[in-house]
């Protein structure tokens, strides 16, 4: 490929996608409904809360026309609970993602395949105690744009940092599981973590594969010497290098 970018999304792209998440705002001014590609926004009337896409909410916040209501999972109490889950209750796996807001029943329904950022996982009605898919980017964006709206934002910042470190350590630790041929469950991993971890994990996997392939080649050669035939996999392996 001509582009120097590696596969997957860059952090800016992830953050861009995250801005399509819905958040709840408390307007400070009236604003009539705007027709957007994603549909009309609700008319804003203070102090009634309304859901808006994050990018619009940030725009209004910057113009001091609205306050953003932090999602319940971004409150210190909820983050502490998640951190406790990550470190004590289940030090091996990631904390689970929020339950799907549309009940998934036996019958298939169109709402089943809806995924972030089209799920209302960061509005004021979202459940506390679960990290949604875009948790890291959303948390960072909100902390940067509206620290005055988040209660105890200093603690929140610290907790987010803690969570990030704990989960990155798990992500890196998962490589050792990969080495043994196992696959670690990535349930509950956020978008930014996938984007960040991709480079490292793919690199390690690639390195392992190379090491493994050279050993494999050596084994095959020994076998060939022994008289057995077959070695068409080799060419395929070499093709990647």
């Amino acid at each position: 490929m001509a582009l120097p970018l590696s596969a997957g999304l860059t952090p800016t792209e992830v953050a861009f996608l995250c801005e399509m998440e819905m958040v709840t705002v408390i307007p400070r001014q009236r604003l009539e409904s705007i027709s957007l590609l994603s549909g009309p926004t609700p008319a804003l009337r203070p102090p009634h809360r309304s859901p808006l896409p994050l990018w619009l909410a940030l725009l209004l916040k910057r113009q001091r026309r609205a306050n953003i209501l932090p999602p319940p999972w971004l409150l210190p109490l909820s983050l502490e609970r998640i951190l406790k889950y990550e470190t004590e209750t289940s030090p091996e796996t990631f904390s689970p993602p929020p339950p799907h807001p549309h009940p998934i029943s036996a019958r298939p329904s169109p709402s089943d395949s809806v995924s972030p950022p089209f799920l209302p996982s960061s509005t004021a009605d979202a459940p506390a105690g679960y990290l949604p898919y875009h948790w890291l980017e959303l948390g960072e964006i909100l902390l940067e744009a509206c620290p005055d709206d988040i209660p105890d934002s200093g603690r929140v910042r610290g907790l987010l940092r803690d969570l990030r470190e704990v989960r990155m350590a798990k992500m890196r630790g998962s490589v050792s599981a990969v080495e043994g041929g196992g696959v670690m469950s990535l349930k509950g991993v956020g978008a930014m973590e996938v984007a960040e971890g991709r480079g490292f994990i793919v690199g390690v996997m690639d390195g392992l594969r190379k090491l493994g392939s050279s050993r494999e080649v050596a084994r095959r050669e020994r076998e060939e010497e022994g008289g057995a035939g077959g070695g068409d996999d080799e060419d395929e392996d070499m093709g990647f290098e």
């Binding site: 400070r28 001014q29 102090p47 009634h48 809360r49």
Partner: protein, 841 residues
């Protein structure tokens, strides 16, 4: 007697140079002092000779506290020892610590002794059983001072990290109730500067020296700063003590002064110059104060309170200096409450003896103490006599007056208190006058005046404003057009209402009107066209927006409770006849002012026994709503037709799914009903009213209490499938009832007003919504099975649609699920309905 002519009291050399502490026994007969040498001294009150000495004791004692029978000392060598006052000798060690003891304190009943040392843990040991110990462990640094509150239910620890920790001792285990930051300064345990919390004798408040050398009073109920004793000391405060009745406060500072303050006015009564005072103790009854200094001297100061203020010593218990005393706050109820305690009893001094009384003739030698057979040896107070030869009622609480009086009378009905919807009572020096969806109004008490601030949610439409308020407004209403204030009557000004429009095209639009003398305001309300005022004289006064008196009438039910208004309708609540539970029944009257029509005449407000209304307001669609003390939001249906009104519950906040886990305890302060949602402020931690900073508004959907709430998802996926079906049906049923109710209210609105086209089409839409909900319910029933067919058919009969389209759709649903019999019956119902409609036509 001026301070200059006073004889300077000479210090008695009691101990060697070093910190010295003292304590009066509760009966006041003895004064125990401890110091840096290995000697305790016990002074007898009223006896000027040598004190009794106790030798067998440690050196460097850092604290002492006493009961009538024994006293406890703590020493730097880490021992806490108990000494008997009877035998004047060592009894036993209560405790040993590895680090120096800093303070000891005995609870009022003498059963527990709290010990603070340089260790992190504060221990509370039983005085007669050293094996039972309670530990207070929450503080992160050593504790300098400890003090029990007068009821011994709480203990305050002044910690060296600058925080005051309050523990509750009522349960089995001591429990940290509150931490107060920013009250005391950080002081090391061995410094002379004090950070002691001194409980006011009435137990509702405490005082503590601050970093600014003032003494701040704080209430225990809401941990709010109350009055402060300021501007007295030029140096750090080293000792602090309330007089036993709470009428005065004595404090000593590094500026070589002892200051005597009056509690009520926070003024300095007098100042004495004594240096290095370390500890102050009042005599429990006499005008006598003793103090020690760091030179080991003890001063026993008779007539400490100068003559012109000496009567303060003799007063009964005095209330703590609150900014707005919650108990003395008189509600605007018409009936004046019985006078609290001894507040208004004038001081008359000792009565002169009646001529030729037996006492005078025989003299005190014969009638006096010598042959008095009752000896008050346990301090219970039955042998205490005051100047009139009567037993004082010192034990009575200053605020239990009305209660005891009530008990004496045979019976008295309980009234519903009057209130202003959307306002909060004073807390500290702040109070919200009005909280609604437009904005909020609050006031701050600045002693001589208030400052009122009005803030809006919509910053574009209105501009926030604030003003200095010399009238002391205590009620307010806010809407899009203006702000209405009212102030209570006081000595020279009658009750006044003040209206200030937000926008004006003349130079002056605000107006003020005064009520007749003796009439006070119980509640005010403001809407687009009228101002309504209910008063203690049971009048309802209606003004136009520019102050023209429009109507005055007397409310039938009295005393009035509150009022609310919407367009031309005025709703008033009043106390009616007494119900079976001893409470008056709350009656509600709704009047159309403009058309002069009575909509509801003294209709009962449906309340459970013993409950009352917290707030009353009109929703944005103009339906009356009440929020009662059980946490239920109710709305009134068919209120425009006389005696047709029914109260329908819209939301029971106790059944909210957020509370289902049982871990949270919270209550809700109602704000408004708008957009089909209940707007409120969530109050956590047992708060009753919102406080500063202004909390965010929350909104809840209506949820008519119908069935047991579905449990919040516990995460187990196996149960989800069957539960979901039931939940879905329950949710639809709830929707159906709620939509029917809202449609009925909308129908009423359209029938009684000149309805617009959009309103009528909204009604048609709402009816369609009901049918859609029924159709969804029917689909669920059909899916569930053939045997639920009767239920499904019933749903079809409930449909409102007259065109037959909905019934046709229902038939299709039945067909899709292959319920042929049901489909047949639905078609029959449809035909019948169509025929029926034609018959009616």
């Amino acid at each position: 007697m001026a301070t200059t002519t006073q004889m300077r009291v000479r210090g008695r050399p009691a101990h060697t140079i070093g910190p010295t502490y003292l304590s009066y026994t509760p009966d006041g007969t003895k004064l125990v002092t401890v110091g840096s040498n290995n000697l305790f001294r016990v002074y007898k009150t009223g006896f000027d000779g040598e004190p009794t000495n106790i030798d067998d004791c440690p050196e460097q004692n850092m604290g002492v506290d006493s009961t009538n029978d024994f006293f406890v000392t703590g020493s730097e060598d880490g021992t806490v020892s108990k000494y008997s006052l009877e035998s004047m000798s060592f009894d036993n060690f209560l405790m040993r610590c590895s680090l120096p003891i800093r303070d000891v304190s005995i609870s009022r009943d003498g059963k527990w002794c709290a010990v603070a040392s340089d260790e992190l843990v504060v221990k509370i040991v039983r005085t007669n059983d050293t094996s039972s110990v309670m530990y207070l462990r929450e503080q992160l640094k050593p504790v300098k001072h400890i003090s029990f509150d007068p009821s011994s239910n709480y203990i305050a620890l002044s910690c060296t990290d600058g925080l005051v920790y309050f523990y509750s001792l009522t349960g089995d285990e001591p429990e940290l109730v509150h931490k107060v930051d920013g009250l005391i300064r950080t002081v090391e345990t061995d410094e002379e500067i004090s950070s002691r919390v001194a409980w006011h004798p009435d137990g509702r408040a405490f005082a503590a020296p601050t970093a600014t050398r003032d003494i701040q009073v704080m209430s225990r109920g809401d941990w709010e700063k109350q009055r402060a004793f300021t501007g007295g000391h030029m140096g750090d405060i080293t000792a602090l003590a309330w007089s036993p009745n709470g009428a005065m406060l004595a404090s000593a500072g590094k500026d070589r002064k002892i200051i005597l303050w009056e509690t009520k006015t926070q003024k300095i009564l007098t100042t004495y110059d004594y240096a290095d005072v370390m500890d102050i103790a009042w005599h429990p009854t006499k005008n006598l104060l003793s103090f020690t200094n760091s030179n080991g001297e003890v001063y026993i100061y008779n007539d400490f309170v100068p003559g012109d203020h000496a009567h303060l010593v003799k007063l009964g218990s005095q209330p703590a200096p609150f900014v707005h005393d919650p108990l003395s706050e008189i509600s605007a109820n018409a009936r004046k409450p019985t006078v609290n305690g001894h507040k208004d009893v004038p001081h008359r001094g000792a009565r002169r003896g009646s001529p030729d009384s037996l006492d005078d003739i025989l003299g005190s030698e014969i009638m006096g103490d010598e042959d008095d057979f009752v000896v008050d040896d346990d301090g219970a107070g039955y042998a205490l006599v005051n100047a009139n030869g009567k037993r004082p009622n010192g034990d009575t609480d200053p605020f239990d007056g009305p209660l005891t009086k009530r008990r004496n009378q045979t019976w008295e009905p309980q009234y519903h208190e009057s209130f202003q919807p959307g306002s909060t009572p004073w807390r500290g020096n702040r109070k919200y006058l009005c909280l609604n969806l437009i904005g909020f109004v609050w006031t701050v008490d600045q002693d001589t005046h208030n400052t009122v601030t009005v803030e809006f949610y919509d910053h574009e439409f209105h501009r926030d404003f604030h003003f200095t308020d010399t009238f002391l407004y205590d009620k307010a209403c806010l809407n899009d057009n203006g702000t209405l204030f009212s102030c209570p009557a006081n000595k020279d000004t009658p009750a006044t209402i003040f209206y200030r429009p937000h926008e004006t095209w003349t130079t002056r639009a605000d107006w003020r009107t005064q009520l007749p003398k003796g009439e006070d305001i119980t509640a005010i309300s403001l809407n687009e066209s009228f101002i309504t005022v209910t008063t203690t004289a049971n009048y309802v006064r209606v003004y136009t927006l520019f102050g023209i008196p429009y109507r005055v009438y007397r409310q039938k039910s009295s005393p009035t409770v509150t009022c609310a208004s919407w367009r031309d309708y005025v709703l008033t609540l009043g106390n009616g006849p007494v119900g079976a539970d001893g409470n008056t029944k709350l009656l509600c009257t709704i009047l159309n002012i403009k058309r002069d029509e009575v909509c509801q005449n003294e209709d009962l407000v449906a309340l459970p026994d013993g409950e009352t209304v917290k707030s009353v307001f009109f929703s944005d669609n103009g339906d009356p709503c009440i929020y009662d003390s059980t946490g239920t939001l109710l709305t009134l249906l068919h209120w425009r037709t006389p005696s047709q009104a029914t109260w329908i519950p819209l939301l029971d906040t106790k059944l909210l799914s957020r509370l289902a886990s049982g871990r949270k305890t919270e209550s809700y302060f109602p704000i408004a009903v708008a957009d089909g949602k209940f707007h409120c402020i969530i109050l956590k931690g047992g708060d009753q009213y919102p406080y500063f900073p202004r909390p965010l508004l929350s909104e809840f959907d209506f949820q008519i209490p119908l069935t047991l709430n579905p449990r919040p998802d516990s995460g187990d996926d196996e149960d989800d499938e069957p539960a979901n079906e039931g939940d879905e049906l329950k949710k639809l049923e709830g929707d159906f009832v709620l939509k029917s109710l809202l449609t009925a209210q909308h129908q009423d609105l359209i029938d009684s007003t000149k309805s617009s086209h959009s309103q009528r089409s909204a009604l048609a839409r709402m009816e369609l919504e009901i049918d859609k909900t029924l159709l969804q319910m029917m689909a669920v029933e059909c899916r569930e099975g053939e045997e639920r067919g009767m239920r499904a058919l019933e749903m079809v009969t409930l449909m409102r649609d007259r065109s037959g389209k909905m019934i046709e759709a229902a038939g299709k649903v039945a067909e899709r699920y292959g319920r042929a019999v049901l489909g047949e019956k639905i078609r029959e119902v449809g035909e019948e309905k169509l025929l029926g409609v034609m018959d009616e036509d």
